[in-house]
């Protein structure tokens, strides 16, 4: 895999026009961010499925004609760090036939998209008769016509089992929707009515941005805007370069493990070597395991993004994320590995598995060199099941993804982790559905959704807590499809902090009390007459030595049921009374902490695959465990 090319913008280079004005620069920079923010709001507020309207599994961005990323505001970096590749693919496929009023649709991961589930819609923006910008959204659809009702089918054996592949297509031509193509598309999808709404919301969003960019060009003059786009990209590049230069030069290596490939092959290894030299970073995944049989493979686009994303949060969060930042990081991987699969392998879950781990191995590699900047491990997309059924009459299909049970984020130096991190791709930036809205819209009852005690990675700062969520189907058999990671290979602890709980999922039979445990990926059914589903999500990894956590804070953690009394004593060295509002035994605490400080703790833990004790601890006589079950 070649590193991304360095690009230049011939249009803007020709368009010098006037002396540089730092004020115009600031104004145009904030205007682009405001436009993308408006796109984001339009899409969120008018979308139909919860994946877009609440989970925010979409990205809005503006590209110039090169195409280089101009602004992504608050988009998902796993989508946007490589979105220019998709825009270029569209531009090349339709060269000479790109006209005002056109909107293109595209989802093919083998020519630059992330995975089949992500639909890219892009509209060219013209000014003074020139194509100057692209207004782009990428939205994760709830269905792609795969063989089971999910757009993230971990058990897809090749790309054809993932549903419909769309090469660059003109969906709207000169302002007219191409009805024949649109009908063909919708005929291949479940929940076509909802997905039509989502696609219209994506088109609405890019239409808003098109209007706003045209206004901007009209107000300042096209050449002036283009000239300052160069400056904006240079500015970010300059600041990112300074930040990377302040990171210690060197070569850093780490490894980690994916739970499974969806077909029973477990603990797939991802290896990374990060080289920092001056203002440049090289991230190389050579040495990672061969590509998986199922969908847990990276595409070219996700691999390019996954290696670069950690550097977006290592640098000052204030630096605008555009091409100038991404350009400092070169990512490479060998074709045919789990990080970058060969056609026609499935890459159905590429944005999360293996991308989440590909990010986290970079965090593992870098934390000792720059502990202030690097967080502990976060949830890698466990416990976001898709539920579906056909209704009491057998003819009223329903389905939704449950985000409320998602795992938590890792701690960082100075602060505890957040709950509901979802995955490294989202970094906590998704939303959950209100329980009442779920029960109003779907035939299920949510019976519990609460913090799981001791799920946090222990540390001077705690990982965010996982939670326990119980879901009861009410009218028909509930098909449950899960795709995920980090149950048997939990989020890592850093700088002496402990690993997250890992967690898992099971179906409980009310009559017998027996439970069927299922690995983090799998497809199975829940019988509404006597069964219910329980997901227990992982906590995030801890940061720093637990015995250095403020004792009063540990007391509050125990009082509030985040940490158990036993763990407080054994791991944190804080000995407490048995009261509901406990008191600290100062003497016993000092002694215990002194003793704990003698035992050395590893920089990063775990160091071996399959490190979660959760399943073993939970299983009782009569319970069963299924690895990667298929329907």
């Amino acid at each position: 895999m070649e590193p991304t090319q360095t690009m230049t913008n011939p249009t803007a280079a020709e368009a010098a026009g006037g002396a540089y004005d730092p004020i115009t620069f600031s104004v145009i920079l904030s205007r682009f961010d405001a436009i993308v923010e408006e796109m984001t709001r339009v899409l969120e507020k008018s979308a139909w499925t919860s994946i877009l309207a609440l989970a925010h599994d979409y990205s809005c961005a503006i590209y110039d004609a090169v195409p280089r990323q101009v602004s992504m505001y608050d988009a998902l970096p796993i989508h946007t760090a490589s979105l220019h590749i998709a825009v270029r693919e569209i531009a090349e496929a339709f060269e000479g036939e790109i006209n005002p009023g056109d909107v293109f649709l595209f989802n093919d991961p083998y020519s630059g998209n992330t995975h089949v589930g992500d639909f890219v819609t892009a509209a060219p923006v013209f000014s003074d008769g020139r194509l100057v910008f692209w207004s782009v959204t990428k939205g994760h659809q709830m269905d792609t016509g795969a063989y089971i009702p999910s757009s993230v089918v971990a058990s897809a054996a090749d790309i054809y089992q993932e549903g419909i592949t769309i090469p660059p297509m003109k969906m709207v031509e000169g302002g007219e929707l191409r009805q024949d193509f649109f009908r063909l598309l919708l005929a291949n999808l479940r929940y076509a009515d909802l997905i039509e709404g989502d696609l219209r919301a994506q088109i609405g969003s890019i239409e808003k941005a098109r209007q706003r960019i045209e206004e901007l060009c009209e107000a300042y003059g096209t050449d002036v805007v283009l000239r300052y786009v160069d400056e904006i990209i240079d500015y970010s590049g300059r600041r990112a370069g300074q930040e990377i230069a302040s990171m210690p030069d060197g070569r850093y290596e780490a490894e980690g493990w994916i739970d499974s490939d969806g077909f029973g092959h477990e603990h797939i290894r991802v290896q990374v070597a990060v080289e920092i030299e001056g203002e440049r970073v090289k991230v190389d995944y050579a040495g990672s395991d061969p590509q998986a049989k199922g969908g847990a493979n990276g595409s070219y686009a996700t691999s390019q993004a996954a290696g670069a994303v950690p550097f977006l949060y290592y640098i000052d969060a204030d630096i605008p994320h555009n091409h100038g930042v991404i350009d400092h990081v070169d990512v490479s991987a060998e074709e045919g590995t789990v990080c970058y699969a060969k056609f026609p392998a499935s890459t159905s879950v590429a944005t999360i598995v293996p991308s989440d781990l590909m990010q986290d191995v970079v965090n593992r590699a870098m934390v000792e060199a720059m502990p202030e900047r690097v967080p502990a491990g976060g949830a890698r997309c466990g416990n976001i099941p898709q539920f579906a059924g056909n209704g009491a009459d057998g003819h009223s299909p329903w389905g939704f993804m449950l985000f409320n049970n998602a795992g938590a984020g890792g701690a960082a130096k100075g602060n505890d982790g957040w709950p509901l991190w979802y995955n490294q791709a989202a970094l906590g930036g998704m939303k959950i559905q209100p329980i009442e809205q779920l029960e109003l819209l779907y035939p299920v009852r949510i019976e519990r959704c609460e913090i799981d005690t001791d799920s946090v990675g222990f540390g001077q700062w705690l990982g965010g807590p996982g939670n326990v969520c119980a879901v009861r189907p009410l009218v028909d058999e509930m098909v449950t499809i899960t795709f995920g990671d980090a149950a048997s290979n939990p989020p890592h602890g850093a700088m002496g902090g402990g690993q997250g709980s890992g967690g898992g999922q099971y179906v409980e039979d009310e009559a017998t009390g027996r439970r069927r445990f299922v690995s983090s990926s799998g497809a199975f059914k829940v019988d509404h007459t006597h069964e219910f589903y329980v997901g227990v999500s992982t906590g995030g990894g801890g940061w720093g030595n637990p015995y250095e956590r403020d004792a009063e804070q540990v007391r509050i953690d125990v009082r509030d049921g985040i940490v158990s009394r036993e763990a407080a004593a054994a791991v944190f060295g804080v000995v407490l009374s048995a009261d509901a509002d406990p008191a600290i035994d100062a003497e016993a605490t000092a002694a215990k902490r002194a003793e704990l400080a003698k035992a050395p703790s590893p920089v990063v833990t775990p160091t071996e695959p399959n490190a979660s004790p959760w399943l073993k601890d939970q299983m009782r006589d009569g319970d069963t465990y299924e690895l990667d079950p298929l329907l």
Binding site: W48, L427, R559
Partner: protein, 701 residues
């Protein structure tokens, strides 16, 4: 003689606005007394009465309207110094407040702290009891568990308990019974039910509004009860009214039933003030209140302020209908700086009042927006705040040079002009956020610029937005306390009733609306309003079936709804959806969730005194050196004294108009006219090569 009094308690000052029958205003600032906020009210009233040649009893006895806005509750939330409270919730869901909407802002900031909940987890106690969406009782209420919870609350010494169960907005029976038990077990402890505070679907917002109500309740009740006693003892002839975040006011018992309504309510008085001042110009207004640290923006369309139910106070959602005041960190004290990549930035950091702008000479060394205005010659160093504060323009220059001019290679004046352009761009962004971003074209609006710094930026903001008319109130500094004297009484009612328009149960909808309207009307009549002073506004939260978020659209008519009304409703939904989101699906029906009635009791409009006729020929008092945005140079510019501008007097830019609490800057082509006693109207010259700033085009279907 009769008076209308507005009293706004802030952290530093308690502002008084007293309007006489004639419309003349008396303004007074009393030092606040945070230990006992009511004391400043009583002290201020005595001072005001003295100036009116009467005593407190004489004043209060002739007061027909007494509206009070208070930050007591808001400050408790900001400082987190409220009492320990408990939350009784549905078993299995004690973490609703902690999980929030599941969203972590600032995606790339790994060091962002999670906002702390108002109730500690050990005092969030779940108890059995469950309804399903259809009203079937799935699990009976666990009365024993409630008593056990009460014991824990007692031990922890809670002062108030919020009760928030799932589905209580439709089936409040369990909450009501739980509250009964808690009151038995915990005498003297306030108990508040979520179905009474916010009877709407979505448990996070409902629980949060209830927890916030419980958190502020003990102190608010104590405070308002004492104040009522003092004012009634002083002979107040009218009931004490309290400013609410919905832009209207309400009596004390109504506030104590839903204390969440008084949070952040101060800026909600802005629309009433804007409409009063600029109503003669039109009823499409954008009010902008620029103070020392923040800018508050509010859109008023067809005489109605934009409302939102997504407002958060200190990271906690309030859920109730609120005047949609959009705030950004841009004010006179906002600091200009150059970042690591050499970009000029302004704010969000502010020098505030302390250390203040560099020119205050009380410790501030960084250049603020006020310093930039001093450098550009717009603010007269000798006449700031009526001469009460002498400004050091040399310190302004030094600060602008050191932190902006030198790093960017700009002259002092260029750097100062840059600071103004950047802060103006930030303010334009805030105005666009409440207009353009919601499908509203700001060019149809008049900009009302209040706050001490409003007049300095007004014309440039309008120009950038393509707005032609700007109104600058003369008494720009007391916008909100003035607004309280002209605000209406307002009660919001809401009922959850799920309906889809292609199979709508009109009887159920009509019954729901009628029940709310009858209650609302009875309440206002009881409060002394006559039928013709009462307005009832109907709205509904609606979406396409299958969509997740709603938009709120007006429900037509004042009588029983018929099929034609529903068609109108559906039509206006499609229209709104297109304007906001650039698409719609007109073949689909509409799903309705919450039906709303806003009941408004209008007070008699106060008189507006006319300005005295001025001299025919308007003469500047002198000229000064000030920056011209047209030439980019410092030029000779005339300064006019507002006292010499009589009714109808006009001034053409470039010019500066100085008033006691505000300064107006006019640029090339701008024309200012003395409108009446209340303020100025500026007709703004269009920008060179002005662009359209808002179009809502349909996406082809």
């Amino acid at each position: 003689m009769s008076y209308r009094i507005g009293v706004d308690i802030g952290g530093t000052f308690t502002d008084f606005t007293v309007a006489r029958e004639s419309g003349e205003l008396l303004l007074w600032k009393q030092d606040s007394t945070p230990d006992d906020p009511g004391r400043a009210v009583v002290q201020g009233l005595a001072a005001v009465a003295e100036q009116l040649d009467t005593d407190v009893e004489g004043l209060l006895g002739e007061t027909e309207l007494f509206v009070h806005g208070t930050t007591v509750a808001t400050n408790m939330l900001i400082q987190r110094n409220g009492p320990t409270i408990g939350l009784l919730c549905t078993e299995g869901f004690r973490d609703v407040l902690y999980f929030r909407d599941g969203y972590k802002p600032e995606r790339f900031n790994m060091h962002l702290e999670h906002p702390r909940e108002l109730v500690d987890r050990w005092l969030r106690i779940g108890v059995p009891g469950r309804f399903d969406p259809s009203g079937e009782e799935v699990a009976p209420l666990g009365e024993e568990e409630i008593r056990a919870a009460a014991a824990q609350f007692r031990e922890a010494g809670v002062r108030a308990v919020a009760v928030a169960f799932l589905w209580s907005m439709l089936y409040p029976r369990h909450e009501q019974r739980a509250a009964e038990i808690l009151r038995e077990e915990l005498p003297g402890v306030d108990v508040i039910c979520s179905a009474d505070v916010l009877p709407e679907i979505r448990e996070w917002e409902r629980t949060s509004a209830t927890a916030m109500s419980a958190y502020v309740m003990p102190k608010i009740r104590e405070y308002l009860t004492a104040l009522t006693g003092q004012l009634e003892g002083g002979g107040l002839a009218s009931p004490l009214l309290i400013m609410q975040i919905n832009g209207g006011c309400a009596r004390v018992p109504e506030i104590l039933a839903r204390p969440v309504n008084i949070l952040a309510s101060g800026p909600a008085a802005a629309p009433a003030a804007a409409l009063h001042f600029a109503g003669s110009v039109g009823d499409n207004l954008i009010s902008v209140d620029m103070g020392g640290t923040s800018l508050d923006v509010c859109l008023i369309e067809d005489g109605r302020a934009a409302m939102s139910r997504e407002i958060q106070v200190e990271g906690q959602p309030i859920g109730v209908s609120a005047v949609d005041v959009h705030s950004i960190g841009a004010g006179g004290g906002s600091i200009g700086w150059v970042d690591a990549g050499n970009a000029l930035r302004v704010g969000p950091r502010s020098a505030g009042a302390n250390p203040g702008p560099a020119c205050y000479d009380i410790g501030g060394t960084e250049p603020t927006v006020t310093d930039a205005n001093v450098v550009l010659g717009y603010l007269n160093p000798d006449a700031f705040l009526g001469g009460r504060r002498r400004l050091r323009d040399d310190l302004s220059r030094a600060a602008v040079d050191k932190f902006v001019g030198e790093p960017l290679g700009l002259s002092t004046v260029e750097a100062a002009a840059g600071i103004i352009r950047v802060v103006n761009a930030n303010m334009v962004g805030a105005i666009r956020a409440v207009s353009v971003d919601r499908g509203v074209d700001p060019r149809r609006f008049t900009l009302v610029c209040a706050g001490g710094a409003g007049g300095l930026h007004a014309a440039e903001l309008a120009r950038e937005l393509g707005i032609e008319k700007v109104f600058v109130p003369l008494e720009a500094g007391v916008f909100c306390s003035f607004g309280m004297t002209v605000t209406d009484v307002r009660h919001d009612h809401v009922t959850a009733l799920h309906q889809v328009t292609d199979a709508i149960d009109l009887d159920a909808v009509n019954a729901t609306i009628a029940e709310m309207e009858q209650a609302a009307r009875a309440e206002l009549l009881e409060e002394g309003f006559t039928e013709d002073e009462i307005t009832l506004e109907r709205e509904v939260d609606a979406r396409y079936p299958g969509q997740v978020h709603e938009i709120t659209v007006p429900v037509p008519g004042t009588a029983q709804l018929g099929p034609a009304d529903i068609e109108t409703l559906v039509g206006s939904f499609h229209e709104q959806h297109l304007a906001q989101f650039a698409y719609n699906r007109t073949t689909m029906p509409i799903e309705c969730l919450h039906w709303r009635v806003a009941a408004i009791g209008a007070g008699a409009a106060p008189a507006r005194p006319g300005a005295e006729a001025g001299e025919a020929e308007v003469k500047p008092m002198r000229t000064t050196e000030a920056y011209s945005s047209a030439s980019g140079e410092v030029e000779e510019m005339p300064i006019y004294d507002v006292a010499t501008l009589g009714l109808g007097a006009a001034v053409s830019g470039p010019a500066i108009v100085a008033a006691p609490t505000t300064t107006v800057v006019l640029h090339e082509g701008d024309v200012l006219e003395r409108r009446d006693a209340d303020g100025f109207l500026i007709t703004v010259a269009p920008a060179a090569g002005a662009a359209g700033s808002a179009r809502a085009e349909a996406v082809p279907a």
